[in-house]
Amino acid sequence: MKVMRRSVLATVATGLFVGLVALSSAAEAQQPQGGVLSDVLKRGTIRIATIGGNPPYSSLGTDGKPVGYDIDVANMLAEQLKVKAEFIVVDVPGRITALQTKRADVTFANFTANVERSKVIAFTDPYVVVGSIYMVKKDSPLQSVEQLNDPKYKIGFARGGTAEGISATTAPRAQKVRFDTVGDAYLAMQSGQVDSHLQDSLQNASYMAKDGDKYRNLPGNWSYEEISIGLPAGDFDWWRVLNIFVKNFNASGDNARLFKKHFGYELPPIQQKY
């Protein structure tokens, strides 16, 4: 029983250690800081969180550096601020954590602005507006989302994104399989591990342009999502600068140009008619 007592002791010790680490990191995160804008200018570097495995928005190039539409937009912001861009690659939920813990100054990561997220972080105006599409293999028996809403079918998507809520409302009865990246979810559909991949409509368009002979979409667009720059909550000056950047970026034609370069077709309207 001596061994067991030692084991219980180890458990308690480890618990204490984990607790201390968590508390100290929480304390660190609570240190008061100056505004992000002045930090960025002083540092001469803007720390940008983005996600990998999400082409054509952002993915890792052959040299391991992120590339894509979101990356080009972020570089343009850094250029205008006259600072160096430093990219931090995170996963889908990591976009929020990176901002909450102030590891990143902004996110450029196919990031939908919504009320839920706005409770903990902030967003600018949108630079792209997207929807959500269910994609299936060409030879799939599925013809509609109603048919997909059945426990015998699996829907794959990247965790931590808006697909979670959209799949829960549009196909509540189907099985949900959550992956780390959009690329993994796409691969799962490709290899038949899931029956359908719920994905961003613009991404869908570029997938269809590339592999349209192998896949098709189930009818319907299931969301309206404003893709925006994310920033830590509670920093008006930083928001003001980023929002002016977005407005000019949209109006100047730079957005249309970069979008065409990466997606291969014209930028759909950002101003929506209600």
Binding site: M1, V3, M4, S7, V8, A10, T11, T14, G15, V18, G19, A22, L23, S25, A26, A29, Q30, P32, P93, I96, T97, Q100, T101, E116, R117, K119, V120, G156, R159, G160, E164, V177, R178, F179, D180, D184, L187, A188, Q190, S191, G192, Q193
Partner: protein, 225 residues
């Protein structure tokens, strides 16, 4: 300013028991299966047959040198590409078993090698058959020798089972990410799950110690260590 508040997770504790059970079930199955694989592997590695020895060594060297994450991807995505669809849970179970089985093989082999040749000869001279030799002479001693290293590996399996989250298996790490996604209390979710893994690993460890003491106490006194 980030405020650490564990109570923020409370609305999402509902699915936690199921997630813990899933992690325990996955780990327990992987532990049992990898022990079987390890026993077979070790017997292959010390076998008189060159082919079996080579097969055992090849298995250990290949599986021990591929990261578990890669094995999980190969089984879940790779096999599916050639038409063999193994679901997430079973893919993770197979990958964990193959990976841990390679380490188990080495642990059991070490145990087998520690038994002096003279004992085999002595058992044979008493007229024991091969099966009796292993059942009454070799395995009881091997069990004692590998007992401690086995514990490390068993904890390793519990910890590694968290990788099953990348292929969508609903377990503790998946719960952590979803709880974070739903409540935006990521730090708290990471912290809570850290504590849960410590408790799970120690629960399994205590189980191992208790079973071990019970089994060892039944062995002949002279063989006790």
């Amino acid at each position: 300013m980030y405020e650490f508040n564990l109570a923020g997770l409370l609305p999402y504790t509902g699915p936690l028991p199921g997630a813990v059970l899933s992690t325990l079930w996955l780990s327990a199955l992987a532990i049992l299966l990898s022990i079987l694989v390890g026993m077979l592997g070790a017997l292959c590695r010390v076998s008189a047959s060159l082919i079996l020895r080579f097969a055992g060594a090849a298995y250990v060297e290949v599986l021990r040198n591929i990261p578990l994450l890669v094995v999980i991807y190969l089984i879940f995505f790779g096999l599916a590409q050639v038409g063999l669809r193994v679901d997430g849970f079973n893919s993770a179970l197979i990958a964990l078993t193959l990976n841990a089985g390679a380490y188990m093989t080495e642990i059991f082999r070490g145990g087998l090698l520690a038994i002096p040749r003279g004992q085999y000869e002595a058992a044979r001279s008493q007229g024991m058959t091969g099966l009796q030799l292993y059942r009454y002479v070799v395995f009881p001693q091997v069990f004692r020798i590998i007992y401690a290293p086995l514990g490390n590996l068993i904890i390793g399996i519990v910890i590694s089972s968290s990788l099953a989250s990348v292929i969508g298996v609903e377990e503790v790490t998946t719960w952590m990410r979803r709880a974070g996604d739903e409540t935006f209390r990521y730090m708290e979710a990471f912290f809570a799950v850290g504590v849960i893994y410590v408790l799970l690993a120690q629960a399994i460890n205590i189980g191992r110690i208790v079973t071990g003491n019970w089994l060892l106490s039944k062995a002949p006194v002279g063989a006790r260590r």
